[in-house]
C-alpha cells in the first residue's frame, strides 16, 4: 500500500494532521516520445499547465489538458492480436501513471497483449501542491461517505478520450498487429468509471470488445443489449466502493451478459498490480485466464 497515492489520500482522511504524510515532490514530465495526441481538444476553464509529481517513488500527473495514448506493444512473435487500453485512476484530479498505468501495460505486453496507456483529460486543480492536496482530500472524502449512493459518472472529456483511444487502436490495427474485434479496456478507480461509462454509451464502432473495471463503483447500471463481457475486481476492504452492494455485477447478469467477478479479501483501494501479502496479487493473471477462455487471446495461447 505504501506509495499508493490513493491510499495515502485515504489515510489523510482518517489520520490528522493533514500535511506531512502525503509528501509530493514536483518532477519534470518523463520522456514519452511514443505518446500520440488523441486530438480530442482541451479542458474548459483550465489555466494551470500539466504537471508531474512523485509520491513514495510513484509518478503521477495532473492538470492534463491534452489526451494522449502511448502504445506498449508485445515482443515480436509473442503477439496474440489482443489489445487493451489502460486507464489509470486518480479521481479525475490526477492519474497514477506508475501504480495503474505503465507496469500494467508492460505486464500485458509481456504476455502478448498490445497495451495502450491512456492519459485522459482531468478536472483542473490548483497550481500549488498544497492546494491540490486539499482538493484531493475533499474529493475522496465525499466519495467514501456511506451515504454516497448517487452514481457518479465520469466527466465527458474522459469518456470522449477513451472513445477516441478505442477508435485510434482500431484504425491503426494492422500497423500495430491488433485484431480490431479484440480491443478491450481496463481501468482503475476513476479509470474504471470511464471504462464502464464508455461501454454504456458507445456505438458498435467504439464499443470495447471487453471491459475490466478494477476497484470501481459497484452501483447498478442500465446494461445495453450489446454490452461487452466484463471482468470486475474489488477488495473487500476498499474504503470507497466495498460493502455497498454488488448491483453492477447483478445488472450484467440480469442483462444476460457475460461477467466474472473477483472480490479479494484484502487490498484496499488502489492496489494496482496487487498488494504483496494479499490475494489481490492474483488479479492480473486471473484477468489473462479470463481473456483466454473467452477467446480474446486467439489460438496462439
Amino acid at each position: 500500500m505504501i506509495g499508493r497515492v490513493i491510499c495515502v489520500a485515504w489515510a489523510l482522511l482518517v489520520a490528522a494532521p493533514v500535511t506531512a504524510q502525503m509528501k509530493m515532490d514536483p518532477v519534470s514530465a518523463p520522456v514519452d516520445p511514443a505518446a500520440i495526441p488523441l486530438g480530442t481538444g482541451g479542458v474548459a476553464g483550465a489555466t494551470e499547465p500539466e504537471s508531474w509529481f512523485r509520491t513514495g517513488g510513484q509518478l503521477s500527473v495532473r492538470n492534463v489538458q491534452v489526451a494522449t495514448l502511448t502504445p506498449v506493444l508485445p515482443p515480436k512473435g509473442k503477439a496474440t492480436g489482443a489489445a487493451v487500453i489502460v486507464a489509470p485512476g486518480g479521481g479525475f484530479l490526477m492519474l497514477s501513471m506508475d501504480n495503474e498505468g505503465w507496469p500494467v501495460a508492460h505486464w500485458l505486453a509481456d504476455h502478448g497483449i498490445a497495451a495502450f496507456v491512456l492519459k485522459y483529460r482531468l478536472k483542473p486543480t490548483p497550481g500549488d501542491l498544497p492546494g491540490f492536496q486539499r482538493a484531493l482530500v475533499a474529493m475522496f472524502s465525499a466519495a467514501g461517505r456511506h451515504d454516497a449512493t448517487v452514481r457518479e459518472t465520469a466527466p465527458l472529456e474522459a469518456v470522449a478520450d477513451a472513445r477516441a483511444a478505442i477508435a485510434l487502436v482500431r484504425a491503426r490495427a494492422t500497423e500495430w498487429g491488433v485484431d480490431s474485434r479484440r480491443v478491450g479496456m481496463v481501468g482503475f478507480s476513476a479509470g474504471a468509471m470511464t471504462t464502464l461509462e464508455l461501454a454504456l454509451s458507445a456505438t458498435p464502432e467504439t464499443m470495447p470488445s471487453f471491459i475490466a473495471p478494477i476497484y470501481g463503483p459497484m452501483n447498478a447500471v442500465m446494461v445495453p443489449a450489446g454490452a461487452p463481457p466484463m471482468f470486475n475486481v474489488l477488495a473487500g476492504d476498499d474504503p470507497l466502493f466495498a460493502r455497498k452492494g454488488l448491483g453492477l455485477i447483478e445488472a450484467w447478469q440480469k442483462a444476460r451478459r457475460p461477467v466474472e467477478f473477483h472480490l479479494y479479501q484484502r487490498g484496499g483501494h488502489g492496489f494496482g498490480m496487487g498488494v504483496k501479502g494479499t490475494t489481490s496479487i492474483g488479479w492480473i493473471a486471473a484477468f489473462r485466464d479470463w481473456l483466454r477462455t473467452n477467446g480474446f487471446l486467439g489460438d496462439s495461447q
Binding site: 463481457p229 473487500g236 466495498a242 460493502r243 452492494g245 454488488l246 455485477i249 447483478e250 447478469q253 440480469k254 457475460p258 461477467v259 466474472e260 467477478f261 473477483h262 472480490l263 479479494y264 479479501q265 484484502r266 501479502g277 494479499t278 490475494t279 496479487i281 492474483g282 493473471a285 486471473a286 485466464d289 479470463w290 477462455t293 473467452n294
Partner: protein, 306 residues
C-alpha cells in the same frame, strides 16, 4: 415457468449425480473405492430408517456413494517433508442423497496434500433413497424440484441434522488426533461443495466455538443470508455465474459475513455451471484451487502462530 423449472431440474440431475445416473458409466454393486479401507468411523450412529448398506457406482476415479448410513473420515496426508500443519475436512456434494466422492472429494484432497495441507474426506450420512437406480433418479428429481420451488421463492433446502453432526464430529476427530497426523488444531478448516457447502456453513454456525473450523470454503453454496457470529471464521467462496441452482440468487451469504465484519473472499467465475469440482476444463474455474491456496497462505494458515 414450469418448463423452465423442469429444465433446471434436468440440468441439476445431470450435474449432481453424473456417475450415478449416466447409465453407460454406471457400475452398480461395487463395494466402493479401495482407499475406503483406511477410512475411520466417526461413531455418530446410523441414519434413521436408513436403506443401507451403502451403494457405490461409477468407474474407479469417478465414484459416487448413496444410502450412506454410517459416517467415516478418510485421511489424505501430505509428504511429511511438505506438511505445513494446516488441515481441511472436505465434504463432497450431492443434494444429501449422493456423494460425488472423487469429483468433489478425493481429487481435491490430493491437490491439498500436494500443497502440504492434510486433507480428510468426509463421507457423511445421506438421506435414504430407493435402492434401484430409476427409483433413486425419481427421488433426486423430486428433491431438486422441491428445493428450487417456484420462481422468486428462493431455495428450500432442508439440511439433515445428521450430516451437520458428522461435519462437527470430523473436525473433532482431526483435532483429537492432531499429533498423530502432524496437524495444528488451530489450523483445521473445512471445504464443502454444494450440499457439502450448505453443511459446512451449518456446522460452522451450530458448532461450539471450540469445534468450529478455523476457516471455511463453501464452493457453489446456496447464497442465502445467515446469522453470523462476530467471531465466525474467515470464508472463501467460489461459484459460477451460470450455476443453474445457486446463481443469480443474490449475495446474501457473503453480505452476512461482511455485515458481521468477518473476513471473506469471493470469486464468481463467468462459466463453470454447478458442480465444477476441482475446476472445469476450458473455464476460469480451473484457477479456483490456486486462488484458495493463495488465500489460505495470505491468511497465515500455512504457518504456526508463534
Amino acid at each position: 415457468m414450469i418448463r423452465f423449472g423442469t429444465a433446471v431440474v434436468a440440468a441439476m440431475l445431470a450435474l449432481l449425480a453424473p456417475a450415478v445416473l449416466g447409465a453407460q458409466a454406471t457400475i452398480e454393486g461395487s463395494t466402493g473405492p479401495l482407499e475406503l479401507a483406511s477410512a475411520l468411523p466417526l461413531g455418530t450412529g446410523e441414519v434413521p430408517q436408513g436403506r443401507g448398506p451403502e451403494q457405490w457406482s461409477g468407474k474407479p476415479g469417478e465414484m459416487s456413494a448413496r444410502n450412506v448410513t454410517r459416517a467415516t473420515l478418510l485421511p489424505v496426508l501430505p509428504d511429511p517433508a511438505k506438511a505445513t500443519g494446516a488441515a481441511v475436512v472436505i465434504a463432497p456434494g450431492g443434494g444429501f442423497m449422493t456423494l460425488a466422492w472423487d469429483h468433489e472429494g478425493m481429487k481435491v484432497a490430493r491437490m491439498m496434500a500436494d500443497r502440504g495441507i492434510a486433507a480428510f474426506v468426509l463421507k457423511y450420512r445421506l438421506d435414504p433413497t430407493p435402492r434401484d437406480l430409476p427409483g433413486f433418479a425419481r427421488a433426486m428429481g423430486a428433491r431438486m424440484t422441491n428445493w428450487i420451488g417456484k420462481p422468486g421463492e428462493g431455495l428450500k433446502i432442508v439440511t439433515p441434522s445428521y450430516a451437520v453432526a458428522d461435519g462437527i464430529a470430523a473436525l473433532r476427530l482431526v483435532r483429537d488426533r492432531a499429533v498423530a497426523w502432524h496437524v495444528d488444531p488451530a489450523r483445521v478448516g473445512m471445504i464443502g461443495f454444494s450440499a457439502g457447502a450448505r453443511m459446512t456453513i451449518a456446522a460452522t454456525l451450530q458448532a461450539a466455538p471450540a469445534d468450529r473450523p478455523a476457516f471455511i470454503v463453501p464452493i457453489y453454496p446456496p447464497m442465502e443470508r445467515v446469522e453470523v457470529p462476530n467471531d465466525a471464521p474467515p470464508m472463501f467462496v467460489a461459484m459460477a455465474t451460470d450455476d443453474p441452482l445457486n446463481g443469480r440468487m443474490g449475495y446474501g451469504l457473503i453480505e452476512s459475513w461482511g455485515a458481521a465484519r468477518r473476513p471473506f473472499e469471493f470469486h464468481e467465475y463467468q462459466r463453470g455451471g454447478h458442480g465444477f469440482g476441482p475446476g472445469r476444463a476450458g473455464t476460469t474455474t480451473e484457477g479456483w484451487v490456486d486462488g484458495l491456496f493463495r488465500w489460505i497462505e495470505a491468511n497465515g494458515f500455512l504457518k504456526a502462530k508463534r
